[in-house]
Amino acid sequence: MEEGKIDALCQEQEVFQQKSKHEAMLERLSNLHQSRLQQSASRKSGLEDSSPAFESTQSFLARFAEMKHSIEASLKQCREASDPDSKSSLKSHLERISLAIEDLQKLVAENSYFLPSYEVRSSLKAISDLKESLEVVNSEFLPRKKFSFRNKVQKKEITQDKDVELDPTQTPELLSFASAVIPIHDSPGFRNKENVVLEKDFRAAGGGDFTLSDLNACEIRLRGCLRALYVHRLKNCRVYVGPVFGSVLIEGVEDCLFMLASHQIRIHHANNTNFYLRVRSRPIIEDSSGVRFAPYNLIYDGVEKDLKDSGLEEETGSWANVDDFKWLRASQSPNWSVLPEEERVCTVKLN
């Protein structure tokens, strides 16, 4: 305290001597401040193009709504334009809309760091809806040429499928790139079979990962615990599996029945298939239709212990909480439903 007092006194004494110095310093400071202001102003204006000049959800939403509205109006205009002569102008018009949608997407991306996640999600949803309707208008008014890339890919897939059907003994699906780089041993699994019952018992040792791939009209029975299950391209099959401690990944199944217990289940490209599930988290579907869900109902000697060991002894009812990644709306997805009780199979017992 004493020291402070002395300092203050000294300063007071020096005030007169320093007056001119003091003024000079103030001037310097004010100059500095001025130039800093200028700098930041020029920085701001330089950035204006690439980054948002506002950080409020409200102004974002207003701008988003405005851009969205103008895109929707343009789309509507395209849909109503029936003049066949204006095809070329329609094309450039659609391209402009596509660019506008991209701008809108950019706007969301640039602002996503401060937006509430709900706003980000709903904005992205709005954008994907816009893209969808643009796609519809595109395909309606400017049909694709016959030999587009998409057709090629489809064709290739069909011939592949045919090969499989013609020659069921052929080697499993080639891993075009991976196998060219390193020798990959096939993971345990059933592949390329038709009209057979396939059984495997893991009760003694427990299994690691297991693959079911390219099966047609087969019945598959896996008893005991697995770590992971991969399912790829099954048609008209019935699949009964013991608990999977980990996840199940399903891609490309048609007219099948699955009975599965697992911590996570992902279903892609499934059609007309019934799933009897016990699952700890929400099962998800993507690019699927006509899939129906019911609770797991499988019995074999020791299934209770296997379920317990895998942490799946409890029926949490999650089998009915399906997320459809292609239907991000509050209303029920048209792609899946709960299998009515009277249509469910009875308890399945594997002897």
Binding site: Q105, V108, A109, E110, S112, Y113, S117, V120, R121, L124, E173, L175, S176, F177, A178, V181, I182, I184, H185, S187, P188, G208, D209, T211, S213, R227, A228, Y230, H232, G246, S247, L249, H263, Q264, R266, H268, R280, S281, R282, I284, E286, D287, G311, D323, F325, K326, L328
Partner: protein
């Protein structure tokens, strides 16, 4: 935090954050976690990997210091797909300065490919020389390998930022 669906991204983030990993639904959208790690604060964006939402990955690229690419080492069938998506990501200009940590997850599953094999399939050696990258084997379920990976990532980013200062 990106990678194909079913690779274990959310499990890894929750494990690092010391949260329960027994019930995790596939990520519809994204999760953000802020974690104190050593002297640093990490903002981890865990972004869903399902096909439908991969096109939205690029909405999250702004101001990314580190990229964690998670691979399901037992999903041999989709390694091509995995390589393709990673290649696309590395072309992204906004990520050009980001350090890349590849986590070869699910090493606990018998038959899973080893990190060295994953590196070969993903052709990591061919990555642009300016990119800092590293591959680490891990198991999201037990947590093995996660610290080693994140230690490297955080140190690498930190050293880069201090050099810039």
């Amino acid at each position: 935090m990106v990678g194909l669906d079913n690779s274990g991204k959310t499990t890894i983030v929750l494990h690092i954050n010391g949260e329960d990993t027994s019930v995790i639904s596939p990520t519809l959208g994204f999760n953000i976690k802020t974690i104190s790690y050593q002297r640093y604060t990490l903002n981890i964006w865990d972004i869903g990997g399902q096909k439908t939402i991969r096109s939205y990955w690029r909405n999250y690229f702004e101001q990314t210091d580190g990229l964690v690419w998670v691979v399901d080492s037992s999903d041999v069938r989709r390694l091509d797909d995995c390589k393709h998506e990673l290649d696309n990501l590395l072309k992204e200009e906004r990520l050009s300065g980001a350090s890349l940590l590849v986590l070869a997850n699910k090493q606990d599953i018998p038959g899973a490919l080893k990190p060295a094999d994953i590196a070969k399939v993903l052709n990591l050696d061919a990555i642009d020389k300016t990119r800092h990258w590293r591959i680490v084997g891990c198991c999201a379920y037990t947590g093995e390998g996660l610290l080693e990976g994140f230690d490297w990532l955080v140190q690498d980013i930190a050293s880069r930022i201090y050099v810039l200062d």
